[in-house]
C-alpha cells in the first residue's frame, strides 16, 4: 500500500499540483478551463449551422479590432468586440449587396480587416513584440481583470445557451419551421453571432487568433462522432473543451511549448480518437427491423380524374 502511495500517487499528485504553485499559471489554468468550455459549447451551434468559416473570419477581424483599439487608445476588449459584431453584420450585408456567396464575403472582409490590423500594429514599434502573442495567444500573461472578463463572458454565453436551448436547437435544425411557429429566428441568429463575437474576443488572449476557430469547431465535431442527441452533444463537447484546455496547459508547462498550440493539438487528438471510436462508423448490428408493420393500403377508386 505504501509502495503504491509513494511510487504512484505522490508523484502523480506533485505532477498535477506543481504548476499550481505559480500564480500566473493558476490564472492561466482558470482561463483555459473557461475558454475551453465557452468555445466548445457555442461551438456545437457553429458546427451544426456550418458557421466554421464565420468563426475563423470573426477571429481574424477581432485582431484588426484590437489594433484599432490600440491606435485609438481605447479598451482593447471593447474595440475587438465591436469590430467582431460589425464584421458579423457586415458579412451578410456585403453578401447581399454584391450578390456574392457568404463564403466569399467572409473571405474578403476577414482578410481585409486582418491585414489592416497587421499594417497598424507593425507600424508601431512598441507594440510589435505582442504581435506573436496575439496571433498565437499567451496564457501566461492573463491578468486578474482578463480572468474576470472571461468569467463574465462564460457566464453570459452559458446562460443564453441554456435559457434558449429549445429555440436555438429548433432554429439550428430547421430555421423555416422554427420561424413558421413564431420563434424569432432572425433575432436568435443575431444573438448567436454576438455571443460568438464575445467568445472569440475573450479567447484571443489564451489561444490566439489563429487557433481560436479550432477550439470552436474541434470539440463539437468530436462529440458529434459519439452521439445522436443534441443535449449529449453539448455535454460531451463541453467536456472535450475543458479537457483540451487542461491537458494542453500541462503539456505546455512540462514540455515548454506555447499553450495555445498544445491545447489545439490535444483537441485534435481527441477528435481522431472519437473518429476511430465512433459507434456511427461501426457496422450496423442487426437486432430488430427498424421498419414498423406495413402501412394499411387503402384501396378504392383512386385514379379517377374529371
Amino acid at each position: 500500500m505504501n509502495i503504491l502511495f509513494d511510487q504512484i500517487l505522490l508523484p502523480l499528485f506533485s505532477f498535477l499540483s506543481e504548476p499550481w504553485e505559480f500564480i500566473f499559471i493558476q490564472k492561466g489554468i482558470l482561463a483555459v478551463i473557461m475558454v475551453g468550455l465557452c468555445c466548445s459549447l457555442i461551438g456545437t451551434h457553429v458546427v451544426l449551422r456550418r458557421l466554421s468559416f464565420i468563426g475563423d473570419g470573426l477571429a481574424h477581424s477581432t485582431f484588426g479590432g484590437l489594433a484599432v483599439g490600440f491606435l485609438l487608445q481605447i479598451n482593447a476588449f471593447v474595440a475587438a468586440l465591436v469590430t467582431a459584431v460589425l464584421t458579423a453584420l457586415g458579412i451578410g450585408a456585403v453578401s447581399r449587396k454584391a450578390d456574392i456567396s457568404l463564403d466569399t464575403s467572409i473571405g474578403i472582409l476577414f482578410s481585409g480587416i486582418f491585414a489592416f490590423g497587421i499594417v497598424i500594429i507593425s507600424h508601431d514599434r512598441n507594440y510589435r513584440g505582442d504581435l506573436f502573442d496575439l496571433l498565437l495567444g499567451n496564457v501566461l500573461t492573463v491578468t486578474t481583470q482578463d480572468l474576470l472578463i472571461t468569467l463574465a463572458t462564460t457566464c453570459v454565453v452559458i446562460a443564453c445557451l441554456v435559457m434558449f436551448f429549445k429555440e436555438l436547437l429548433y432554429s439550428s435544425f430547421d430555421p423555416a419551421g422554427a420561424a413558421a411557429c413564431g420563434i424569432p429566428v432572425a433575432w436568435l441568429d443575431f444573438a448567436l453571432l454576438v455571443l460568438l463575437a464575445l467568445t472569440i474576443t475573450v479567447s484571443m488572449q489564451t489561444v490566439g487568433v489563429v487557433l481560436v476557430s479550432a477550439l470552436l469547431v474541434t470539440p463539437a465535431a468530436s462529440a458529434l462522432q459519439l452521439t445522436n442527441r443534441f443535449s449529449n452533444l453539448m455535454i460531451l463537447s463541453g467536456t472535450f473543451g475543458i479537457a483540451s484546455g487542461l491537458i494542453g496547459i500541462y503539456l505546455s508547462y512540462y514540455m515548454d511549448v506555447p499553450a495555445g498550440a498544445a491545447i489545439v493539438l490535444v483537441a485534435t487528438t481527441i477528435f481522431f480518437i472519437c473518429l476511430l471510436a465512433s459507434p456511427k462508423r461501426r457496422p450496423v448490428k442487426v437486432t430488430e427491423p427498424l421498419e414498423e408493420p406495413p402501412a394499411q393500403i387503402i384501396t378504392g377508386d383512386y385514379h379517377r380524374i374529371g
Binding site: C181, N228, H303, R304, I305
Partner: protein, 264 residues
C-alpha cells in the same frame, strides 16, 4: 389534443401579390379557405405553391394585398398553424431523435420571455407522445431522425406539426419522394386529421391523390387559374392552362384521346 373540436379559422387572401414587380411569384390572388377544408394546391414548379404557403404563414410579406387568418394577421396566428416544410432543406445528420423533432412542435407555443425559458413540462411530453402515436411512430421515438425512411420522416414532421395542436396544417410536398405505400399511409393520416376538424392545405405534384382525397383544388400558375371541388376543376382545359402544356387526363374508362387530339 385537437380531438374533435371544430376550428373556425377561415383564411382569406385578397389581392395578394408577392415577389418582384417585374415578375411576381404570386399575382393578385383572391382566395378564401374555409375551416375544415382539405385543399390541394397544384401547379408547375416555380408557380408559387410554396410561396402561397409562406404568405399564409407570414414568412413572406405580400408586396400588395392582405392575408388574414380568422381576421388576424398571420404573425399573430402562427401558433395555430402547423407547417411541414420541404424536407430537402433539412440536414438529417443533425443529432436529434424522432422524439426531439416532434417535441420541437411545442417550442413555438411559449409566449413571452419567462414562459420561453421554462423547461419542457409534463403536458409537452404527453402531447408529443400522442402525436407520435397518431402518426404511428411511437416505437421509433428514440431513433435518430436520420435513420428513418422518407415516409417516416414526413410522418415525424407531421407529428411535430400536430404537437403544436394547430387548427390549420400547411404541408409543402408531403408525398414527394416517398414510396407508394407510404403515400397512401400519409394521405390516410391527413384525411383522419381533417376529419377531426383541422384545415389542411397541401401542395402536391400528384394529381391522382388530389382527385381522390382532397375536397378542394387550387390551380396556381403565378395567378389563380381555378379553384373548386376536384371534379369541377380537374378538367382538360384548366389543367392545360395551369401547366401550360397538354396533359393526358385519364378517367376510369381510359384516356381522353379524342379530346386531347381535338384540342390541337
Amino acid at each position: 389534443m385537437t380531438s374533435s373540436q371544430k376550428n373556425n379559422l377561415s383564411i382569406q387572401l385578397s389581392g395578394v401579390s408577392a415577389g418582384y414587380q417585374a415578375a411576381p411569384v404570386l399575382n393578385n390572388i383572391n382566395l378564401v379557405i374555409e375551416p375544415g377544408d382539405f385543399v390541394g394546391v397544384i401547379g408547375p414548379n416555380g408557380c408559387g405553391k410554396s410561396t402561397l404557403l409562406k404568405v399564409i404563414l407570414g414568412l413572406i410579406k405580400p408586396a400588395s394585398g392582405r392575408v388574414t387568418l380568422g381576421g388576424m394577421t398571420p404573425e399573430k396566428m402562427r401558433r395555430k398553424v402547423g407547417y411541414l416544410p420541404q424536407l430537402t432543406q433539412i440536414d438529417f445528420k443533425f443529432p436529434a431523435s424522432v422524439w426531439d423533432v416532434v417535441m420541437m412542435g411545442r417550442y413555438g407555443l411559449r409566449q413571452g420571455f419567462f414562459d420561453q425559458i421554462k423547461p419542457i413540462n409534463e403536458e409537452d411530453k404527453k402531447v408529443t407522445k400522442q402525436a407520435l402515436e397518431r402518426v404511428g411512430l411511437a416505437n421509433l421515438a428514440d431513433q435518430p431522425i436520420g435513420q428513418l425512411s422518407g415516409g417516416q420522416r414526413q410522418r415525424a414532421f407531421i407529428a411535430r406539426a400536430i404537437a403544436q395542436e394547430p387548427e390549420v396544417l400547411l404541408l409543402d410536398e408531403p408525398i414527394t419522394g416517398v414510396d407508394i405505400t407510404s403515400q397512401h399511409a400519409l394521405l390516410h393520416l391527413l384525411e383522419e386529421l381533417n376529419s377531426r376538424g383541422i384545415t389542411i392545405i397541401s401542395t402536391t405534384h400528384d394529381l391522382n391523390c388530389v382527385a381522390s382525397s382532397f375536397n378542394r383544388v387550387v390551380c396556381l400558375n403565378h395567378k389563380l387559374i381555378a379553384e373548386g371541388p376536384p371534379n369541377q376543376v380537374l378538367t382538360q382545359e384548366i389543367l392545360n392552362e395551369t401547366y401550360g402544356s397538354h396533359l393526358l387526363v385519364m378517367t376510369e374508362r381510359g384516356p381522353h384521346i379524342e379530346h386531347n387530339l381535338s384540342s390541337h
